[in-house]
């Protein structure tokens, strides 16, 4: 196996690992499971790419694999309630400022609570757009739909978010 090919793959891992983890986290609302999905995503991507297939867009490939893994998983397991999953206590990685971590932990739980009423598809598209700052064009490539359709879905998800009781009170 070409050494530079391996290095390229490892570089892709360093670049995209956190993003893929965040994507999985907002799909499954569990740190532990998001880690498992992220790991499996990269291992599958390696299996896929080592066959010599030219990868035009590694990021899109990684999202697709992660997405399919989560869908497969949700088919095989009865969906666990997001209510239960959000009982996990710690999501934010520690930094030198313990107070900041605690504050972020609290804010994240609020965000999770606010997104809980969205459907899978809506949570997914908002995560891609506003957590990972992906353009509709990039999202379109990942989801295999048109950029126009992505924009429609984002608008629909935003509308749904605005309609939630929490935001209506604002």
């Amino acid at each position: 196996m070409d050494k530079s090919f391996k290095n390229e793959f490892l570089a892709a891992y360093e670049s995209h690992a956190d993003a893929i983890y965040r994507y999985c986290f907002f799909r499954v609302y569990s740190k532990e499971r998001a880690e498992e999905f992220a790991q499996e995503t990269f291992l599958r991507a390696w299996e896929y790419s080592k066959g010599g297939k030219k990868i035009e867009n590694m990021r899109a490939l990684l999202y697709r694999i992660a997405r399919n893994l989560i869908i497969d998983h949700s088919r095989k397991k009865k969906e666990e309630s997001l209510e239960t999953l959000s009982e996990e206590t710690s999501f934010i990685e520690p930094s030198s400022d313990g107070r900041l971590v605690a504050e972020r932990e609290m804010i994240l739980k609020e965000v999770m609570e606010e997104m809980k009423n969205l459907g899978d598809e809506e949570r997914e598209i908002l995560t891609m757009r506003y957590v990972e700052d992906l353009d509709p064009k990039d999202i379109a490539e990942i989801l295999g739909i048109s950029a126009n359709n992505v924009s429609v879905r984002i608008n629909r998800a935003m509308k749904r978010l605005r309609e939630s009781p929490r935001f209506r009170e604002d």
């Binding site: 983890y21 790991q39 297939k53 490939l61 009865k78 972020r104």
Partner: protein, 382 residues
């Protein structure tokens, strides 16, 4: 809302893999690289993928056509080795050959039909598994979405009758096949009378019920879209020349489809038997009556109403062809009185869409149950 995005920005940088976990994953990648210890992902289509990778679809099709593979692939089902050829060679070539926008939309409708026909055949043959279901559903949703995008584009460019016509074609493709799928799903036990592997049958039934549910969701969206567009046709542009011409064309199309349906029924009367033949004949007559109503509306200058009635007649006539085909090819009777939800009523009233009843036999294995809220898998690769 602004507050929400501020919160999101605050937390996202802290939401990352721990250094320890990152090292752990990197280690497992390095091990996989070094040892090649992971088994390759099993794929029956692997051979074809490797063989055809460098060859453009059309050239591949010509190569495979000469060997007869492309034709054999046409009959393949998800999970079979030639299915990859069917999807990635045959269908890509057919898609490329559809040049006009209308032909491209028609081809997407045809792909919706192909996926639903495959689903019914998989259930009938006891080959519907989580994997094959996922493959069919993914293709179904992609093609149905593609058609819906075309419908939206036609509508937004002011071509409302063409949009309504396309939405009606999609609905027609889906509606009757959902009934067939539902019928074969109900008949899983009846068709396989020696349930040595009872659990396998229960699983098939559960998976197929999930498949029916997904197809019904696609249908519901389609019906909603068609109704909105038909209302628009009837209310806003009834007097225009464009609608007059569309209404006249649609009457001709309805007459042609009814004729085709009658011929198809004649050809398959033996397989159907007298009762089913009489039932289908009654449906065709009803479609004929609707076409007459459409003509009367057109004569009265109500072109929008006429157009919508003709579309309804076409859908009804096309449905009879699918039902006759199901009987002739799958040996399935589509029982009209069975548990098919009234999609149109549900679409117009906004009522919650109900799932078909599942088998009462409980299975300890939840793996086969399909979550109604799940999204579809997408194809990996370029």
């Amino acid at each position: 809302m602004e507050e929400f995005f501020k919160k999101l920005n605050k937390v996202k940088s802290g939401l990352r893999l721990s250094d320890r976990k990152k090292d752990e994953i990197r280690g497992s990648i390095l091990r996989a690289m070094a040892e090649g210890e992971m088994a390759p992902v099993a794929s029956p289509a692997g051979f074809w993928r490797r063989f055809l990778r460098p060859v453009p679809a059309l050239a591949a099709f010509l190569i495979l056509a000469v060997s007869g593979t492309a034709f054999a692939a046409e009959k393949s089902l998800p999970g079979e080795s030639l299915y990859w050829v069917k999807i990635n060679v045959n269908e890509k070539v057919a898609g490329t050959l559809a040049v006009s926008a209308e032909a491209k939309s028609d081809w997407q409708v045809a792909k919706v039909e192909r996926r639903l026909d495959e689903a019914a055949e998989l259930v009938t043959k006891g080959k519907l598994t989580d994997e094959t279901q996922a493959e069919v559903e993914s293709g179904l949703e992609n093609s149905a979405n593609a058609v819906q995008i075309d419908v939206d584009e036609l509508n937004s460019s002011g071509n409302v009758t063409a949009a309504a016509n396309l939405a009606s074609r999609l609905e027609s493709a889906v509606a009757s096949r959902v009934e067939v799928l539902s019928a074969v799903s109900r008949n899983v036990f009846a068709q396989r009378p020696a349930p040595k592997a009872a659990l396998s049958l229960i699983q098939t039934k559960n998976i197929s019920s999930g498949m029916v549910l997904r197809a019904q969701k696609v249908l519901q969206k389609t019906v909603e879209s068609r109704i909105k567009l038909e209302n628009k046709v009837a209310e806003t542009v009834s007097s225009s020349v464009e609608v007059k011409s569309a209404a006249e064309a649609q009457i001709r199309a309805a007459v042609k489809t009814i004729k085709e349906s009658r011929n198809y029924l004649k050809k398959n009367m033996k397989e159907l038997g007298p009762n089913a033949t009489a039932a289908v004949e009654a449906e065709i007559k009803a479609a004929e009556a609707t076409t007459k109503d459409a003509s009367a509306k057109a004569e009265a200058g109500l072109y929008g109403d006429s157009f919508n009635l003709s579309n309804g007649a076409i859908r009804a006539a096309e449905k009879t062809q699918v039902i006759v085909g199901a009987r002739a090819n799958l040996n399935v009777d589509v029982d009209e009185s069975a548990e098919i939800p009234d999609v149109e009523k549900s679409a117009t009233s906004g009522a919650a869409f109900s799932a078909p009843a599942r088998t009462n036999v409980s299975s300890s294995d939840d793996n086969t149950k399909t979550d109604t809220g799940e999204t579809q898998k997408i194809e990996i690769g370029d």
